[in-house]
Amino acid sequence: MKTQTPLNFVIVGHVDHGKSTLIGRLLYDTNSLAPDKLAEVKKISEAHGRDTEFAFLLDHLEEERKQGITIDTTQVFFKTEKRRYVIIDAPGHVEFVKNMITGASQAEAAVLIVDAVEGVKEQTKRHSYMLSMLGLNQIIVVINKMDLVEFSQERFDKVRNDIQEFLDSINIKPNHYIPISGIKGDNIANRSGNMDWYNGLTFMQSLDELKNNPANIEKDLILPVQDVYKVDDKRINVGRIEAGKIKAGDAIKILPSNQETAIKSIEKFLENTDEALSGECIGFTTQDSVFLDRGDIICRSGAEPVVTDRFRANMFWMSRKPFSQDEKLIIRCATQEIRCKIEVIEKRINSSSLELLEENADKLENLEVGEVVIKTKKPIAIKKFSQVQELGRFVMILNENIVAGGIITELD
């Protein structure tokens, strides 16, 4: 029997809106908690003078427990009758947005949690915007702490309308809006007896509806070269197929050099194979002796990505030190790594309010999004993010650190 692929989802939302508590509740209701872990949480809750606090299951750092906040993203595992899940918990505090992005970039779906009392707050909006930038399109909105608003339908509708209005403006169409109480368990695994006015799915049912990301097998071949090894006097090129499939004998084109040749063999340790699919890490040799290098992109003639040195992107700055336009950056897109500069910052945008801060700006501050034109020093092979995510997204490096992430919106 093959083990089913788990579904990865991230829980995001404003600080204190109840992310960690919701996760604790899911683990508890699905019987995923080992008694010794539960005992440990009870003991630590008592030591901090609280009732059993599910958040301690995830907030493991001493500072997190003492301050009652999540600092860094974490992952936990649980299963329902239908399948396995990986839950990615993401911090809600503004200071830790880069940790939230780290968590959310690994997810196939997202749960946006909103406090029924507080309603839509700064990080509710910023996180939603980040989800749209990351290309997540399976989103469940849960309105939490319904027990604190007497399970009022009127309050639910109000908060729902507020969040919906914002999500509409950034083109997010959630799968569901669900009224819950994480702490009491209403509409999590079991239907609430307190909200007869709600006829939709429980949270668990809505999770079971989510789908795994489809494999990119039907798309055109993209195989970025990761490295070249010499094994027993044989040069083996290695890389992960990001889209499409490949087999021995296939004609290929190499970007950016435009050389053409064919695949001689597919190499895997102790396996005989002549075909490989998107997602597989393979070795391969070519029929002609061409010298490949890290960053070369293998594709098919007639179905190439665009090779250019100028394109438009939305770039999210996540370093405390603001970016000033005269700084040179290094762009990394798949295995390509090229020096570049930001030619124009057409718009500087507040990532929470979406307010336009400045046009033709010369800087980007922490957590701001820029609509930018990027000029690379050498040609780079790219696609629009909406076509092939793997070649349409990038990070920027400054002083050996990742300082920004971005998606390619238009090819020049």
Partner: protein, 270 residues
């Protein structure tokens, strides 16, 4: 024929991608092999990544308190797999009689962390491959795939670098090294499913004898067995599906103090 990748295929490919990424960026790396099921699985993946010819050393931190079975297993497979094995000990601490009877915290710190520090300084490794998993311990769940350690070996868990879309922090300053965690996304039962599918050899300690077996192995003095009749991989997998006891419940360093694991890890423990 329409082939598709199953869950174990996906995990395997993701791990191989990470291993190759680490080697591509640094070249001067090592695999930290504790001879347990996880780092032995990692070894298997590293062999796959490099077509059976691992181009870097395998580092074993020897506290001198390991089970005899661990030493025997290490020597057998180091030979069979043609490994470039480096055994590292904190010789001074061993000579001075450091042991768990002094203090468990100090013992782990001296015989594991300091021994590792000495080995890294001697060999000038820029990155280490480690077989830790997120589901083992809440602190490990907070880890990045590429996780920097400063010159004092400290883990700055309050300000970790962002990591997105398989783009990792791969550059390190002179003083730093990176811990690379290719198995971070695996869970315990994945390891066993994979060990079975690939027929990976692992030490006998994991299999039940006389009603007891080890779920997690390390130093003989600080590992307790669990009650179990699971003497085959199938029975172990079955046991994991029904057990209510967590994996590291037999490991002393996780329990001594609420934050002992965090303190050990921030000092550079694995």
């Amino acid at each position: 024929m329409s082939r598709s990748l199953d869950h174990l295929d996906k995990l395997e490919n993701q791990s191989i991608f990470i291993i190759r990424e680490a080697y591509s960026q640094f070249r001067n790396i090592a695999l930290l092999w504790s001879i347990g099921k996880d780092s032995t699985t990692l070894m298997w993946l590293v062999r796959k990544a490099f077509f059976g010819k691992i181009p870097f050393p395998i580092l074993h931190i020897d506290t001198t308190y390991k089970f005899k079975e661990i030493y025997d297993f290490r020597d057998k497979y180091a030979k069979e797999w043609g490994l470039n094995l480096i055994v590292a000990r904190n010789e001074d601490a061993v000579a001075n009689g450091m042991g768990p009877d002094k203090s468990k915290f100090e013992c782990c710190n001296q015989l594991k962390t300091i021994a590792l520090k000495q080995a890294i300084a001697r060999e000038k490794f820029k990155a280490l491959l480690l077989g830790i998993r997120r589901d083992e311990h809440g602190i490990r769940a907070k880890e990045r795939v590429f996780s920097p350690r400063d010159e004092d070996f400290e883990w700055d868990y309050k300000d970790q670098p962002p990591e997105l879309w398989d783009q990792y922090k791969t550059k390190a300053t002179e003083e730093e090294h990176l811990r690379v965690h290719p198995l971070l996304g695996w869970i315990e039962v994945d390891i066993w499913d994979y060990v079975k599918r690939e027929n990976i050899p692992i030490p006998e300690l994991y299999f039940a004898k006389n009603g007891k077996r080890f779920r997690s192995i390390g130093c003989e003095c600080c590992c307790g067995p669990v009650e179990s009749d699971a003497d085959t991989i199938d029975k172990i997998v079955q046991e994991l599906k029904t057990t209510q006891i967590s994996e590291r419940s037999g490991r002393a360093q996780d329990k001594e103090d609420d934050y002992m694991m965090q303190k050990l890890r921030s000092l550079g423990y694995m």
